[in-house]
């Protein structure tokens, strides 16, 4: 009766070991949240008179 127990133990160890050896490419949600840019990086503004920034917001 001891042999099945030994076989079961080996099988379980093998399964646990195999499950741990896989790799992940997708990121966890927290990392996704962290790497997402929160704002634009404006490297250069439009020339004056051609879309210059305004505090008034979009025209309605």
């Amino acid at each position: 009766m001891r042999r099945p127990l030994v076989v079961m133990s080996v099988a379980v160890s093998l399964l646990v070991g195999l499950a741990a050896c896989g790799r992940h490419v997708v990121l966890d949600p927290e990392t996704v949240d962290r790497v997402n840019d929160r704002a634009w990086t404006v490297k250069s503004e439009p020339h004056r008179g051609e879309g210059i920034a305004t505090d008034a917001g979009p025209p309605h």
Partner: protein, 226 residues
């Protein structure tokens, strides 16, 4: 004793079969495009206000794995098969952005349009489009990561950059092709919406940008920005 051995053998085979059956490649495609008339109707009165945007398609492809769009896994978390994109990710994301722009009331133009001084030009790079199942105790979730970087410019001197990273998830009991597709659709919709919302936020700071001035045709076809 023989009965116990038979039971064990049956259990072992059942376990192997139920968890190790993901050996077939899976195809995923971009979300179905709505009819042009439907897009036009949705865009009326939208935040885009008819502003012209040239979307250069395809976007550059800077993914780590260029040969596939994801992996199929068995119950042991082993990489067993590939997920293939039926359309190049650079075109996939550029098309999704153009469709979402139309839905928001923008006027996306083809890559060959000649930009005027205030026409908004969008170029992009896809950094990630990867789908992968993650096994939970009883269920599994197909996660789709989609990342791209946009560079927005105008002839009048605006240059702005922003990176986007979104995740699509579809939970089920098996990593079927439908689950991969649902995850890809969700991630695509999310990144396109995030891009358009961000673009609107940027362009609203410069009210003159995007006013009709480009000479080439409008992307009237649902997938016609190439």
């Amino acid at each position: 004793m023989q009965h116990v051995s038979t039971c064990l053998l049956f259990l072992a085979v059942a376990t192997l079969v139920s968890t190790g059956c993901a050996f077939a490649n899976v195809d995923v495609h971009p979300p179905e495009a709505p009819a042009p008339a439907q897009l036009e109707a949705q865009g009326r009165g939208g935040p885009g206000r008819g502003r012209e945007v040239i979307v250069y398609a395809p976007f550059a492809d800077a993914r780590y794995e260029l040969t596939r769009c994801g992996m199929q896994k068995n119950g042991y978390n082993m990489d067993t098969a590939d997920v293939k994109c039926t359309e190049a990710p650079g075109l996939w994301v550029a098309d999704a952005l153009a469709i979402e722009l139309q839905r928001a009331g923008y006027k996306p133009l083809r890559s060959d349009a000649v930009p005027g001084p205030t026409t908004v030009v969008v170029r992009g790079t896809v950094h990630q489009l990867f789908l992968e199942p993650k096994h939970d105790f009883f269920t599994l979730t197909v996660e789709g990561d989609l990342s791209a970087r946009l560079v927005v410019s105008t002839a009048s001197g605006l240059v702005a950059e922003r990176g986007f990273y979104v995740k699509g998830t579809e939970t089920g009991i098996a990593s079927t092709e439908a689950a991969f597709q649902a995850s890809a659709d969700q991630a695509t919709r999310r990144i396109a919406r995030a891009m358009v919302a961000a673009l609107t936020q940027l362009l609203d700071r410069y009210p003159d940008l995007g006013t009709p001035s480009a000479s080439a045709a409008v992307a009237g076809e649902a997938r016609g920005i190439r």
